[in-house]
Symmetry: C2
Subunit: 881 residues, 2 copies
């Protein structure tokens, strides 16, 4: 049986729920028809027709053409006009409309149906030849440009020449006969360029226009937009064919756009602008200044009141703030589009809270109305929107927020200058764990290499430092202490530079920043959020400052304290290196004994901040070579300090070198080969817990073993941990409860989670590493490939930012199911980057995770995302029941 490719929107064939098939615009037009609002009749060619267009090798099927041909007479009948009839001509607009809003990305053709006869007839019919020929010349230009791809410039040149010749400045000052002359010149130009006459048959015009809209789905700017927004290429666009109404029929006509509430602040009340005697494109073009919508009340109170009523109807119907386009033709109001309006985070929160007060929404519905990702805006300072900004390069929006500082090119300099009170921007080709001090000292970080989940990006987000990573536009010269950009800019050490981490922009000079205000509504809103969610939200943090930040943002524990971060501190790295360079167990133990008090102090501080909330501490994870010095000078310094030869250090470094450190000697493999490290860490964790216990703070430490791939590996580590804990208990003559669990971050761990759960008391899913191994992609190396992959549709999103549910998700779900099968009450949580990503959080809810853990600055986002996931899950259950 044949598919239906064309829907008549004025015949109750469609409604707002058919967004996937008809696109947002078509579905909402149908809905407006259905609730009785004044909408010019229209039909929609479905997104499936677009998909078929591509499947058929960019050809439109004859059956689809036939269906369009059958729709036209229906349109003619309902509007009482006829295609190509000079006495009563039907003109239509042809617009794209996809499932997700892609403003300005695809093509639109207005006034379709125009030809020589129609123009002449329309001139007579309206008694307004200027209007008729203006519409015709606009149509020719648009058709030539958009449908035939001939380019605007030829036609703009003609227009300019005629205006010069006539001595007029503005289009509106051209007379009807001027325009008639332009039409003739346009047609001649068209014939010259295309080697054929401008098509006079409206039917031909229409089919070509539909094809052009389909084609525009695949244009470069649409592809880039989709990639950025994570919209699948496979969705396709619908095409809306709608009877034209004219806002340019004189002073009782006009056109405008309006929001039902202020999209920047959320305040209730119409917000928008309109222009009299104009078509939609004029409002956007910026040649004439539109008037605020409130002026319409004086200019045409009747239409205004009608519009206010329509807006009220729409808001009540959609229960959301609306973004509308309308046209007034001879004082008659026509609604051309409505959709839920985009808004700032501030506005989103306010509107949600207000609509609950107005009883339009329940609290849970309100929670669903704010994009979790969007909350981020409320949590970081931003560049002053009013300031002048010269973007000199772009990169990946690795960590949001604005930062301004003097460029420095090494972590040491960053720390040094910071101590002197300078604000610095750390600029590196890439960062490594050793740079942490410098990253912390910097206002923001710029890197030339590495993706959204590179070291720089992950650490920056963790610290709440703005970061632009992997900027291909810049070339860093460490020797000269400067970077140059492809746009020709040079930034030298000590020169100011600014970044917008949310946009991935690098901006010249010292741009002022502003802190977005949090309104009282935010608190109200977050209280509903916390009521709705079932997962707890923890933070990844190891410093008291980060832990404090996390609690301020509502974290309910620490899901991942990475103990290795504690070793990079300048005061400790020395002891760490001594440990690594020691030849004997004895030597290692000596060095570890020096590290112990530091670790213990760290844990005590962490426990105090978290004040009884759970704290998961992961044992040492990275390969040891990460701690060794890399440059000759550093090696010599270390050799000198330690009283060994440089050769010895080099030999050890050489021995520790790995081809693929990600798959090397790290994680629990360290604990197994150097049990003394795990012993020292366990001792620090347990002693710290006992000691803060004496201060009245009760803590149940969760000791986490990284990179486990089998039960036996875990058991060996657990034996070390339990043995050490017992020793400490004996020494202190005290015991306390603690848990021993494991990271699940290897495919094998997921597959054998049932066995591992026999002895592991909790699972922390490390989805970063799990993604790397499942996909065989190192996040440090595949930034460029991933971009190409996303451009080619291999992955819709960045799998390191949003969990690859199809692939990695299977393993995560298996891990959860097998873990629970063995130990029904096992604690399950996520502590990878995905723990702060809303879409991934929704998936984790469906796996039955107990918590997600993310960087402190993402805690509010995770709270909201978890609430939304819980609400969706509840709805899904109800539906299923």
């Amino acid at each position: 049986m044949s598919k239906k490719y064309v829907y008549l929107l004025f015949k109750n064939e469609a409604n707002a729920s058919m967004r996937e098939l008809l696109g947002g615009k078509g579905a909402n037009l149908a809905e407006m028809f259905n609730i009785g609002l004044p909408v010019p009749p229209a039909f929609t060619v479905t997104t499936e027709a677009c998909t078929r267009y591509y499947d058929d090798g960019k050809k439109i099927g004859q059956d689809i053409i036939d269906e369009i041909d059958r729709a036209i007479p229906e349109l003619e009948t309902v509007i009482g006009k006829k295609f190509g009839d000079p006495k009563n001509p039907l003109l239509v607009s042809v617009r794209s409309g996809s499932r997700a809003s892609m403003p300005g990305m695809m093509d639109t053709i207005l006034n379709l149906g125009m030809n020589d006869e129609v123009a002449e007839g329309l001139a007579k019919l309206t008694g307004n030849p200027r209007f008729a020929y203006d519409s015709y010349r606009r149509f020719i230009q648009m058709f030539a440009d958009v449908v035939m791809d001939l380019g605007k410039s030829y036609f703009e040149k003609i227009l300019k020449e005629v205006k010069a010749q006539k001595g007029v400045e503005l289009d509106k000052d051209l007379t009807a006969s001027d325009l008639q002359e332009i039409v003739a010149l346009y047609k001649a130009e068209y014939r010259k360029l295309k080697n054929e006459a401008f098509p006079q048959d409206p039917h031909t015009q229409l089919i070509e226009a539909v094809k052009a809209v389909f084609r525009s789905w695949d244009n470069p700017r649409a592809n880039i937009y989709r990639m950025r927004e994570g919209i699948p290429y496979s969705w396709g666009t619908a095409v809306n064919v709608q009877c034209m109404v004219f806002g340019n029929k004189g002073d009782t006509s006009g056109t405008g756009v309006a929001f039902s509430r202020n999209p920047a602040t959320g305040e209730k009340g119409l917000y928008g602008e309109y222009l009299f005697n104009a078509q939609g494109e004029d409002v956007v073009a910026g040649i004439r200044t539109p008037k605020p919508i409130s002026d319409l009340q004086k200019d045409n109170p009747e239409v205004y009141n009608q519009f206010v009523k329509v807006v009220e109807t729409l808001e009540n119907h959609y229960k959301d703030m609306q973004d509308m386009e309308f046209t007034i033709e001879h004082s008659k109001l026509w609604m051309l589009q409505t959709r839920n309006g985009k808004r700032t985070a501030t506005a989103a929160v306010k509107i949600a809270v207000d609509m609950v007060k107005e009883k339009l929404l329940t609290e849970e519905e309100a929670v669903m109305r704010v994009g979790a990702e969007q909350l981020d805006q409320l949590l970081h300072p931003m560049l002053d929107p009013k300031a002048n900004k010269k973007v000199i390069a772009t990169g990946l929006p690795a960590s949001p927020g604005a930062a301004v500082g003097k460029a420095v090119f090494s972590a040491d300099v960053a720390e040094e200058w910071n101590k002197k009170g300078e604000k610095v921007m750390l600029v590196r080709i890439e960062t490594s764990p050793e740079d942490i001090g410098g990253m912390d000292a910097a206002q923001g970080i710029i890197t030339a290499r590495g993706g959204m989940t590179s070291h720089a990006a992950v650490v920056a987000r963790g610290m709440g430092r703005p970061c632009v990573s992997g900027s291909n536009d810049i070339k860093i010269d460490y020797a000269k202490k400067q970077f140059t950009t492809t746009s020709g800019a040079i930034v030298r050490e000590g020169e100011w530079v600014s970044i917008d981490g949310a946009k991935g922009q690098i901006i010249e000079g010292n741009v002022p920043t502003v802190q977005v205000e949090m309104t009282g509504d935010f608190g109200t809103f977050m209280s509903w959020v916390d009521k709705a969610r079932t997962m707890t939200i923890r933070a990844n943090a190891e410093t008291p400052r980060d832990a404090k930040q996390a609690r301020d943002f509502g974290a309910e524990g620490i899901g991942l304290a990475r103990t290795e971060h504690m070793f990079f501190d300048a005061s400790r790295i020395q002891d760490m290196r001594e440990m690594i360079l020691a030849d004997t167990l004895e030597g290692r133990r000596r060095a570890l004994a020096k590290l112990l008090p530091h670790q213990k102090k760290d844990f005590k501080e962490l426990y105090r901040v978290m004040d009884g909330l759970p704290v998961t501490v992961r044992l040492l994870d990275p390969p040891l070579h990460e701690f060794l010095p890399h440059t000759e000078a550093e090696m010599q310094e270390l050799a000198h300090k330690m009283g060994v030869t440089v050769e010895k250090i080099k030999e050890r470094a050489e021995k520790l070198h790995e081809f693929n450190p990600m798959l090397g000697h790290r994680g629990c493999r360290l604990a197994i080969t150097y049990p003394e490290i795990a012993e020292m860490q366990t001792r620090a964790i347990i002693e710290a817990a006992i000691e803060v216990g004496e201060e009245g703070i009760s803590v149940v430490p969760e000791i986490e073993v990284p990179l486990v791939g089998s039960k036996k590996e875990f058991d060996i580590c657990k034996t070390i941990i339990d043995g050490t804990a017992q020793t400490v208990f004996g020494e202190k003559n005290k015991t306390l409860k603690y848990l021993v669990g494991t990271m699940i971050e290897l495919p094998r761990a997921c597959l054998l989670a049932d066995e591992i759960a026999e002895t592991a008391e909790f699972f922390g899913f490390g989805t970063n590493d799990l993604t790397q191994t499942t996909l065989g992609m190192s996040r440090d190396d595949t930034g460029a490939i991933l971009e190409e992959y996303r451009a080619k549709g291999v992955y819709v999103g960045d799998p390191f930012a949003t969990l690859d549910q199809e692939g990695v998700g299977q393993l995560v779900r298996t891990g959860c199911e097998k873990g629970r099968a063995t130990r029904p009450n096992i604690k399950l949580g996520v502590c990878g980057e995905h723990g702060g990503d809303p879409e991934s959080i929704n998936f984790f809810q469906s796996c039955g995770m107990g918590y997600v853990s993310c960087s402190p600055f993402r805690v509010p986002i995770a709270r909201l995302a978890a609430a939304q996931a819980a609400i969706k899950a509840k709805k899904g259950e109800k539906k299923a029941a």
Copy 2:
């Protein structure tokens, strides 16, 4: 209900099938009882008792002691002797016996039950006081050493002193009273060392001895042996307590060992030796020279004939060559042990073939009788077993066979010297793809780093070059062109060195080698093998020489031709580097055009050798930086040749550098970013097939896309391949059938195999990479960890040598099942190292794979393993039916 820990072997409580519980020795003793052979009565303490001993923290449970205590009177009754009864004393031997044979690895105690009174009684009873005190002194010494861990040296010193004092040379020249004196001295020494008297109570002696045997399961040499043989620690050992019979009761007594056929050649007929008036240990000790077993026929025809009959009975019963121990006490034959005898590969094949002729075995049973791994012995030359060898270092047995050559320390020198007709041994810290020429030119390869599946190991096995990899004993100094060993040896460039690749030994000097003869039986045997198997066997090969070798060994196609190996050739690497350094598509195409004729020639040669058999060609896989020069000098040379600056080369190398190349820009990711490479390769594959077609050779090329993780990735590559093929067909005005499939080597590919199979026509499982990603272990980096892991029982075998069925196997099975679900007739095969590993092959059979592909030298092994897997599967099915 309580478990049974002790089995009386003489009461039909047990039989040969109870090997797991009773160990091999105990089960076979029971079986010999059951078929009526003369066996001294015995009971066995089970392996489960041993496991419990360890579970209980190295304590033997009272219930087990009670069971042993109840078994003793039963033994006393059946033999008619009594523990500690001077008039009729029961003496027993206490021996270990595990499920798998572990010769000499654990402890044995003879003559247990001896004490002062018993010795005296026995002297009277036998009229042979010399015998009585000799037995007693042996027992004290053994008990002190083995059970009490006091060490032999104290007692050996006493023995030596007394012999010196008495002026005798040999033990047998000591008189009864000399021995009595020694006993007294031994007891005094025991008291001195242990601070307690030598235990007189046989019951105490027995329980201590049982514990000692349990303990010996965990001794270092047993642990090392198990690790090497892949025997799980968890199995534990049984303990056999058996009535002593005495071969040292004078000249009508004796003891011996015999095989039912020659274990070296397989020839039928008794093979072994015996000693009159001796206990078992004397045969082994080598002080007296034993006589060949044939002499027994003259010495004692009655016993000989009885023994011949017993051997016949045993061979007919077990239907296998037997390895037996026996004792003659006063002309009465006692069988102490029988087991299936170990044999050389030559013998194994001959015995299997002979036993079919003798109608003892069916052909399929015969196929099961030769260890697949063992066949390897028949395929490589070996070091002359008679030559003197000084092992100076050991490493991993990375590639079997013997090699002898002059040490060289770079691949270039290896090639150079080889051209001059020198035999060279390539010694490298590790090897990289660039070294392939040198590896090929060398007789053998030694590396200081890297595991069994390191680059050196994999390539060496592929080439059939012997290799010892990852030798921690050697330290290579490239600058001085020499290596030193921990044993103090120095080998300089140009000095001879030999290796035994099967044993992992590095041997001083030029050791002569011998080629093992293949007998005519080998052909007969392999014909049965080929009849039995259901999987086809292909080879991994890309050179005509390897392909020819593979066919000679019976390969039925090429399962993996790694095209990148074709680029490392000196004549091509230049063009390859030009391609990589090109800035533009144009430049790359120019360089690729130069590579095309080479690739095509390679494929044509390959097709000709394979003459119609299937050939799977994998597109370029490794990251491009592998092809770039590494040293400054090489870079300068390249820069000079190409007319670019060294900086440009460095810049490009820097840009291509990856932190984890294994997870980087490689595999199909190359085809997607540089489609022109895949186009060139496809063109070469298809043009070559068309051109050899004109020679009358029909070939269906199987084009394989590496490292696919999603259907979309595969489809992008398939589009490039199909498009190129169509172009070539058009140009040549010919078409031919070809298949496009993919490697399945990422966890994600297994999980989404159903989708990938929609368009992929075959799957080649790359289990090397799949293991690396599933376990999160780089095979180049984790050699040392893996060794530690195996020592600690995390993995029983090396997961890179034998597939980790529990973990990786789940993914492989999922991949097969999902692939077949979408495309029931999909071609499934394996082309990793595991494709040549018998245990893994057995697993692949169970997954329903159609073929396995391995290095040419392993093809016969794979054929046999596949046959054995098919036979086992058939048996399993029958059992299930």
